[in-house]
């Protein structure tokens, strides 16, 4: 009878193609909605986390307390004292100037820095030209390496601004700088939202051409820790050296680990949010499936009455509807999962900052299981109700 019923169920599904397809669609959408939304959220979270780790671990950022006028700048002596540690320190000063190219005037942050900046700040990569070298630094050459955003603002669509000249105006001083390189945009999700209109120049040129900047004093010190060292231990050492040289609360150390732990909180909130969205989509998808199963099976009350009148036992009828529901929901669920995998994969390929393709098997499993269960329960329940009626009551059903 089981085999016979399987045949009956399949032919019932096939003979009522439209109804079967619509039911199938309900299940597909239910599973797809849950899997896709939750997984998309997880992919985004994973993308951002991996990026922060990529740029950030093994770096420190030491800065004076800007709100506190008594908090002194760091000096060359501080830098000297710290150099004993397995770290590289970037001597860097920044200020805002006005850059002029033809008739474009743009406010630009100019960083006076050293030629080893690309090694210390691992996020720097060049798209065009070169970074300034020791020789440029030694002769305080008036050369500038633009950020991607600055290049965009100053030269718009010009394919290769290397070799072009920029007039920098700062506190009455005007100097012409030559563009020698352009940086890559800051990668990923962080870069997408950051607006970094800046240019790097040799530190000596910075002191010469921008008046009023004290030489050998720094508001902040970007530090890169050697890759084989423990970041936490080095941070403690930095702290103990600085504590001997300055009042304890006159500076702050920011670490990417710190940023990450902040981000962890965000991630937890994000995941709670995703869980909520998942639960809601599961509910919505489930109700969709419930609805279509309930309607399509209730609509068949007359058919059930007829089958009973012709000698089908309630058990046989339930078996047929169970098989139909299982076949529909399992096929629908599989299509839904496949569709969401393909869609997510496509999104990861297309959206640049989503570079990690993660699929949580729990999410897929839950979506699939809940959909199948909902479909089966609400496919069999109305059939059971109809099969418990006398044939004539079922046949009379409108």
């Amino acid at each position: 009878m089981l085999l016979e019923n399987l045949r009956t169920a399949l032919s019932a599904l096939f003979e009522n193609r439209l109804r079967s397809l619509l039911t199938l669609l309900g299940v597909v959408i239910g599973v797809f909605a849950v899997t896709a939304t939750v997984s998309l959220g997880e992919i985004a979270t994973a993308g951002i986390t991996s990026e922060i780790q990529e740029f950030g671990s093994q770096s420190l950022f030491v800065q004076r307390v800007f709100d506190d006028p008594d908090s002194e700048r760091f000096t060359d002596d501080d830098v000297e004292a710290l150099s004993r540690l397995p770290i590289q320190i970037l001597r860097q000063q920044s200020t805002r100037v006005t850059a002029v190219v033809d008739d474009v005037r743009e406010s630009v942050t100019v960083n006076g820095t050293t030629p080893d900046a690309p090694e210390v700040d691992r996020s720097i990569e060049l798209a065009q030209g070169r970074y300034f070298d020791e020789r440029d630094a030694a002769r305080a050459a008036a050369v500038i390496v633009l950020s991607a955003d600055a290049r965009q603002e100053l030269f718009e669509d010009e394919p290769d601004p290397v070799g072009r000249e920029i007039l920098l105006e700062a506190r009455g001083a005007r100097t012409t700088y030559t563009v020698i390189g352009v940086k890559e945009p800051i990668g990923g999700a962080l870069g997408t939202f950051a607006n970094d209109i800046s240019g790097d120049v040799p530190l000596e040129a910075f002191y010469r051409d921008i008046p009023g900047v004290p030489r050998g004093e720094y508001d902040f010190l970007p530090i890169s820790i050697d890759l084989d060292r423990d970041a936490g231990a080095v941070e403690d050492q930095v702290r103990s050296i600085l504590d001997r040289r300055r009042p304890p609360d006159s500076y702050q150390i920011q670490t990417v680990e710190g940023a990450l732990s902040l981000f962890d909180t965000i991630t937890v909130i994000l995941q709670a949010l995703l869980g909520g969205i998942g639960a809601i989509s599961l509910l919505v998808g489930g109700i969709g499936i419930l609805n279509i199963m309930l309607v399509s099976v209730t609509e068949r009350t007359r058919e059930i009455g007829l089958r009973k009148a012709l000698g089908a036992t309630p058990r046989t009828i339930l078996q047929q509807f169970l098989i139909e529901a299982v076949v529909l929901t399992v096929i629908g669920g599989t299509i839904g999962v496949a569709l969401s995998l393909v869609t997510l994969w496509g999104i990861v390929q297309l959206v640049p900052f989503l570079d990690v393709f993660v699929i949580n098997p729990w999410v897929v499993g839950m979506a699939f299981l809940v959909s199948v269960l909902t479909g089966v329960v609400f496919g069999v329940w109305p059939a059971r109700r109809a099969a418990s009626l006398s044939p004539i009551e079922a046949l009379r059903y409108e």
Partner: protein, 264 residues
């Protein structure tokens, strides 16, 4: 017991005592469709049930066909009290003993004539091949040999009714119950259906038919009048043609087939 044995013994195949059926429409509206009805039908009888609309004739037929249960009273089918039957056994009775022809045909709309007729055979446990053969035979019998694979919406009303009859016949039931089998048909098609019933009766089947047309009822041997949920009168209109002798039944069946041209 086969139909033949029952017929020759003249035992009542249907024995209803004090049947009541109450439909509850809403909270406090009750419709008494049957009010203590008694009825006996002998094996091999061909009878018409007549009565004004609302008299309870369809309700009676449905109860006799085990499609609905009476609210009160006893119904014995071939000696078995139907109320005592389990759901499983009841399905078996519906499948083996009873062929029911609905006024509205009640065919599966998306299945072919052949599949519709084969459906009760599947519930009987017949294999696909046997089902096909038996269903084809039944459809040939009602003159639809060339419509096996047509779906109901490709058939005329008379053809649909004949598919429904073929479905009722395919299981070789003892009792054929028909609710207004000619009600939706033009008179010529109606005559054809009645001729088919005559032939089936001649084979020894017990046939009960609900109708409101005197002319249709006169094709039977006995007319049972129902009014207000009880039997008002029961008159024998024709000599009971007892198919006690096999040869006689054969020849009658043959004659009926010749008359309608369905015997080919």
């Amino acid at each position: 017991m086969t139909a033949e044995e029952e017929a020759s013994g003249s035992t009542p195949v249907i024995e209803a005592r004090g049947l009541r059926k109450i439909y509850r429409l809403g909270a406090d509206v009750e419709v008494h469709a049957l009010r203590g009805l008694d009825l006996e039908v002998l094996a091999g009888e061909y009878a018409a049930i007549m009565g004004p609309s609302g008299s309870g004739k369809s309700t009676l037929l449905q109860i006799l066909g085990c499609l609905d249960a009476p609210s009160e009273g006893s119904y014995r089918l071939a000696g078995e009290e139907v109320a005592d039957l389990s759901e499983e056994r009841l399905s078996q009775v519906r499948n083996h003993r009873i062929g029911f022809v609905f006024q509205a045909y009640n065919l599966l709309a998306r299945s072919s004539a052949l599949d519709n007729v084969a459906l009760p055979l599947m519930y009987r446990g017949l294999g696909p091949r046997a089902r096909r053969a038996t269903a084809t035979e039944a459809l040939e019998r009602v003159g639809l040999a060339d419509r096996l694979h047509h779906k109901p919406n490709e058939l005329s009303g008379g053809q649909k009714q004949r598919v429904a009859i073929a479905r009722a016949l395919a299981t070789e039931p003892d009792i054929l119950l028909a609710d207004e089998p000619t009600g939706n048909l033009d008179s010529r098609t109606g005559q054809e259906i009645l001729a088919l019933f005559g032939a089936l009766h001649a084979e020894g089947r017990t046939i009960l038919m609900v109708t409101h047309e005197q002319e249709v009822a006169e094709h039977t041997e006995r007319i049972i009048h129902i009014r207000d949920g009880v039997v008002e009168s029961s008159e024998v209109v024709a000599q009971r043609r007892r198919p006690s002798v096999g040869d006689a039944a054969e020849s009658r069946a043959g004659a009926a087939h010749d008359a309608t041209g369905w015997g080919r």
